[in-house]
Symmetry: C2
Subunit: 340 residues, 2 copies
DNA sequence: TTGAAAGCGCTAACAT
DNA sequence: ATGTTAGCGCTTTCAA
């Protein structure tokens, strides 16, 4: 079909090794360089990465397994990682496992068959069973957003504890003493951390436990909607609600709209992620904004370092934690003491 | 490193061909099947797709080149395609070219080197120069969302003309006779079609040309914001505004919020795409909803058919057009005659 | 610096 | 139905 190195060798009268050396940054005499380049031009030669991969056992391909491509956070992180990896000559194969453990496991197997050099994973299976067989190959795995107990690999996470604690503090600073929080599934480390942050900050601020209502959503819009309803159905109406994930934020807001609850007159709200969505709200939503770019950079760096260090004595797992930031809109109302 | 077919052959005492035949759906005696399966289990064997790809010149990998992964439309389409392709054993390598022609061209070259079996492309370069060399390989290309004159390949598009014409009709049915439209860049066929739909429907409804204001955005949020401002700065204030792309919808709405313009009291609005976003608005936004799932299915089907038919006499290019649908919210106000 | 040759793991043609 | 063998396009010793 297309031209091969052999064709270049024939065309130039050089040996295969010289051509290969040319492509791999070896020393080739200037005259021969030119000859090779002319032949490449003439024959429209292009390196066959498949053959190269077979020989070197390095495909220059990274597997990525995420719960949902529709998930804003995941999409943004992937976007930036792709950017960085492409610059280093790496391709990415992204598998969306639809938050399904079985599909997650299958995705890892699929990528293993394709001999990806490494794996990025926002894990769904919090036991990490899906990673065991891949890790045996000695290829690196970088976990994003969630840690897994007992799986020793690099991780990059938002400082989830502090992100929500900050949200609580902002509410308190505006006079809110009865708070609701929509949490994610507690099997997920990120969701646990966020809840811990909530409780810890409430305690620190002297907010009574009875005044902290939490409802557990499933990180979907529908779950956020249900959880919002649940919180408002309780006896103690909170004056402020913190939502700890983007999809649930959208879902909760849709439901609040449907219920005719005005933000922030009837309820103050702090959402999560997606600054553009927040700005399109009326009034503009106050949110916790995750640093997707920084996460992607940190993850890509860890990964590339591991790949290059393949064969060396494996260093211990690194855990990078990156702070989130509050972006204030107008969805948190300042309330006076007597409204408590 | 990991086990090979040869290891399986040794372990079972069978020949290589039998093992290969086993993996490729050939006839293998039941007893031998079991032996092979036992050996696979024991040696943790997994097929090496790289080697297979080299031999067959089929990588079972599809390249995807899109302007923006952040683009909701693209993300949804990709998501569904991945789903379908994975079921057929195909992986996808997605390249986000950031709406940059140079990067788009590089992405195609990158994927060509990796010997992808086919290409999905939402083209940025409306001349199609980036595809020429790939098409020479005889591998199929399916264009999504946008056609390119002079490039004969399968395309799958929304019925953009009618989508916007329907939006105009909805406005008119609610008494609107002065309309603004935010269009996309006119180099893009989809944007051209949408503008054509606007003009055609206005004419059909007898709306004076002077009462149709259009402003051209660049398919980004910022562009949408600017275009919205431009339209409202004109002398003839339209009573209704149609926005022909999702990002511009978000941008325009943010700007309208900032300008203190109420929807639909001060201005009726029909947006584009992302039903969840629309529902989260207050009032709920009326939108044109593109059929991403159907587009993905049609595109995947065309692609798989082409791949399987490789070598056969190439059929002529097919063009699939899929209708969009209006999803009504509360952002279009019914106005009375005298307000004209 | 360059050439010759072996071999990465697989498939497929041919022989049995 | 199964075994034997050549070779896909590349990298990488080893010699020259």
């Amino acid at each position: 079909m297309s031209a091969t190195m052999k064709d270049i060798a024939n065309e130039t009268g050089l040996g295969l090794a010289t051509i290969s050396s040319y492509f791999n940054g070896g020393n080739v005499r200037p005259g021969n360089r030119e000859k090779i380049e002319a032949a490449i031009e003439k024959l429209h030669y292009e390196i066959n990465e498949t053959a190269r991969g077979l020989k070197t056992d390095r495909t220059r391909t990274i597997g990525v397994v995420i719960p949902e491509l529709q998930n804003m956070f995941a999409a943004k992180v992937i976007c930036h990682m792709e950017d960085i990896l492409l610059k280093h000559g790496y391709a990415m194969i992204v598998c969306d496992c639809r938050t399904d453990r079985k599909r997650e496991r299958e995705a890892v197997e699929f990528l293993k068959k394709r001999r990806v050099d490494a794996l990025f994973n926002i894990p769904v299976d919090n036991e990490g069973g899906h990673l065991k067989s891949f890790l045996k190959t000695g290829r690196p795995v970088v976990l994003i957003d969630r840690e897994i107990k007992g799986i020793a690999c690099d991780t990059v996470c938002t400082d989830n504890f502090r992100a929500i604690a900050d949200a609580v503090r902002l509410m308190a600073a505006n006079g809110h003493r009865r708070l609701g929080m929509i949490t994610g599934p507690q099997e997920i480390s990120a969701a646990r951390e966020r809840l811990r942050g909530f409780r810890s900050a409430c305690e620190e601020l002297g907010i009574a436990e009875a005044d902290c209502v939490t409802a557990c959503g499933d990180d979907t819009m529908e779950g956020g909607a249900r959880a919002a309803e649940e919180i408002l159905a309780g006896e103690k109406h909170p004056t402020g609600m913190i939502i700890s994930n983007y999809s649930m934020t959208v879902g909760a807001i849709i439901r609040l709209n449907e219920m005719g609850i005005s933000i922030p007159e009837d309820l103050s709200v702090i959402g999560f992620d997606n600054i553009n969505f927040a700005k399109a709200m009326n009034p503009v939503l106050t949110i916790v904004d995750q640093p997707e770019t920084l996460i992607a950079e940190a993850a890509a760096e860890l990964l590339l370092k591991r790949i290059e260090a393949a064969g060396d004595e494996a260093e211990g797992a690194r855990h990078v934690v990156i702070p989130a930031r509050m972006v204030e809109g107008r969805s948190v109302r300042k309330i006076r003491g007597e409204e408590k």
